[in-house]
């Protein structure tokens, strides 16, 4: 063999060796859940059909549950919405550990996706036999693989539990949130979202208050009160909510029930990065719309309030600081031929609430201090002025949350005061109430 031929043979041998050793590099491609990518063959984009319709249903469910506000699930809805949908030509059987949770009883894989944001979702023909609710769950499951933190997004057990929490009948924002908080490690929470507590929503409710007055005199006896409220927060974004509220009341006394004050309020809730819920509000309780008997009483005044609160919900406890100022005002009462004027000075109100949280129950209490400028009563030749006085009160609170329903039982007792003051002095029935204290029961629905 000549030198030329020998040289060509060595070159060919060398090229063969290179080709042979480089084959695995081209053949093995990581796609899907660490799979070999063989299911990428023959993919067709899905534009319509039951799988696409089911994605829309999945999005509706996620939005209804407000999953965007749950730490760790902030990207779930966008991932479900934006993922490209494909369908393969042929079914494949289970070959990867990551297929657990994605397969039929016979081992055919329903769908696969890459565990990274914005990856496509590949469905297999067997998925077309699934019912709508099963397809919804499949979309959410695959979306979780892309939306969760990298440390947990491939954990089929975690993803399966969260999928179940979202798709189970009776699922609520709170139940999903609790499941996520229970099973996800802290480092899996969205670094941006874990410092944000999402506002739970608007509310409509009813409250009954009973005022107790052990042998104490009064100028206008109020025994109990019914309150109905509607606070709606339709404006704002994820971190802030702005809305308005209406409170209506019925006041009961020895002579029967009378229309009480009407409350109008504006509320602004926002959240800072430290996870505190901050609220600013302004309210006015209009006694001018009360019954004549109440208008012609020491409590017949309009009360304006500005307030600010900071609340922190921990996993097993809560604490809230609350500050407000009630502006002064006056009310008139005519008795016989004498007109009496009750002049109320402004009142600063500070309160601390704290308690424990376990299961669905919040149990705690509060202490509240009212510091008032004065109360003057003048009429004819009669004149009295308390000067500055204070009222210290407190009581227990017990709250039970059952999905959207919240039940609260609370009490207020006068602990200490100067100038023999009681809650009558404040002239604010809808606020702290009247008399020596009260017992309250409220039920509301949050949405």
């Amino acid at each position: 063999m000549g030198d030329r031929k020998r040289y060509i043979l060595w070159v060919l041998l060398f090229l063969c060796l290179i080709f042979t050793f480089s084959l695995p590099l081209y053949a093995i491609t990581k796609v899907g859940n660490s799979d070999d990518g063989s299911d990428l063959e023959g993919l067709t984009a899905l534009e319509s059909g039951p799988i696409v319709a089911a994605r829309k249903k999945a999005l509706e469910k996620l939005n209804a549950l407000n999953v965007q506000g749950i730490a760790g699930l902030g990207m779930l809805a966008p991932e479900v919405e934006k993922t490209s949908l494909y369908i393969a030509k042929e079914d494949i059987t289970t070959s990867l550990a990551s297929d657990n949770g994605h397969t039929s009883m016979s081992g055919n894989v329903y769908a696969r996706t890459m565990p990274q944001p914005l990856a496509a979702t590949r469905f297999f023909p067997v998925a077309q036999k699934l019912e709508e609710n099963q397809l919804v769950a499949l979309h959410i499951h695959e979306g979780l693989h892309r939306a969760l933190a990298p440390s947990v997004r491939e954990d089929e057990s975690l993803v399966g539990k969260i999928t179940l929490a979202i798709t189970s009948p009776g699922a609520s924002h709170d139940s999903v949130k609790k499941t996520v908080e229970d099973i996800l490690p802290k480092n899996a929470l969205d670094p941006e979202q874990k410092e944000v507590t999402y506002f739970t929503g608007s509310s409509v409710g009813y409250t009954y208050r009973y005022f107790f007055r052990p042998n104490k005199p009064t100028t206008y006896q109020v025994d109990s009160m019914h309150l109905v409220h509607s606070h709606l927060y339709p404006f704002g974004g994820k971190r802030t909510r702005f809305g308005m509220g209406i409170d209506m009341s019925l006041v009961n006394g020895p002579a029967g029930g009378n229309m009480g004050p009407l409350g109008l309020s504006a509320h602004f809730r926002l959240f800072n990065v430290k996870g505190f819920e901050m609220q600013i509000w302004g309210a006015i309780h209009l006694n001018t719309l009360s019954a004549e008997e109440l208008k012609d009483s020491p409590f017949g005044r309009d009360v304006g309030t500005l307030g600010f609160s900071l609340k922190k919900n921990l996993k097993t406890a809560y604490i809230e600081n609350f500050t407000s100022v009630d502006f002064g005002g006056s009310a008139n009462q005519k008795i016989g031929l004498v007109d009496y004027k009750y002049s109320y000075g402004s009142v600063i109100d500070v309160k601390i609430r704290a308690g424990l949280r376990t299961w669905k129950i919040d149990a705690g209490g509060y202490v509240e201090l009212h510091l008032a400028d004065y109360l003057k009563v003048e009429g004819g030749a009669f004149s009295k002025d308390t000067g500055r006085y204070r009222i210290l009160s407190g009581g227990p609170e017990l709250t039970l949350e059952l999905d959207e329903w919240v039940f609260t039982l609370y009490a207020r007792a006068l602990l200490n005061s100067t100038k023999n003051a009681n809650f009558d002095f404040l002239g604010n029935i809808m606020g702290p109430g009247v008399s020596q204290g009260s017992l309250g029961l409220s039920v509301k629905i949050i949405f």
């Binding site: 100028t219 016989g336 031929l337 004498v338 030749a381 009669f382 004149s383």
Partner: protein, 206 residues
């Protein structure tokens, strides 16, 4: 000379007349009369806001039923009242047969504690935590109580000379706690609802 004599005679006459209290320069010749606006019955068992305790045509005065009386706007007149003339309260008796008893038993006494129209038998007022009478039925100065005399203008009315009360309390101390009608026998007095015979006060002003 005659002119100077006339002037001197006029001055002497003026001094004599003024010393006798005549003429009254600046005072009303007829006393001013005002209807009392603070009229409140207190009796055991009736609450502060019981509507039968004010605005009535008549009130019983008895051992367990007293009537608080006050001219609420007295302070507007205090500095102008001439105490050289009487300050009188006039009470009209509702039942003719009570007249004789009223002249013997019905007394008006100075009240010694501030009260308001929500007063009760136990409380001078229920506001601001309430203030009780030291003695149920009202705190009054027994030594200042006055019996009345038949009014010259009405056979049904009795007038009470409360000049000393006015000097001791509204003028002397700047306090107007009014007076209280008490009696050991039942006497019905006309209430403030009456147009012509409501309880009233009269005095001369400068």
């Amino acid at each position: 000379m005659i002119r100077y004599a006339l002037i001197v005679w006029f001055v002497v006459l003026l001094v004599i007349l003024t010393g006798c209290g005549l003429p009254r320069f600046g005072t009303t010749s007829v006393p001013t009369q005002y209807s009392l606006d603070g009229v409140k019955r207190i009796t055991p068992g009736l609450g502060s806001d019981n509507p039968t305790t004010w605005g009535q045509n008549s009130y019983p005065v008895n051992t367990d039923s007293h009537v608080l009386l006050r001219f609420e706007k007295l302070s507007e007149h205090t500095s102008k009242i001439d105490t050289t003339d009487k300050v009188e309260f006039q009470i009209t008796i509702a039942e003719t047969e009570h007249m004789a008893s009223a002249l013997q038993q019905l007394k008006l006494c100075p009240v010694t504690k501030s009260w308001m129209m929500l007063a009760t038998w136990e409380l001078a007022h229920p506001i601001l935590g309430g203030e009780a009478w030291s003695t149920p039925g009202g705190d009054y100065d027994n030594s200042g109580c006055v019996l009345g005399t038949q009014s010259a203008n009405s056979s049904k009315s009795i007038v009470f000379d409360m000049t000393q009360w006015f000097i001791d309390y509204p003028k002397g101390r700047g306090t107007n706690y009014g007076i209280i009608a008490v009696s050991s026998q039942l006497i019905n007095i006309v209430g403030e609802q009456s147009g012509s015979f409501s309880p009233r006060i009269s005095f001369h002003e400068f």
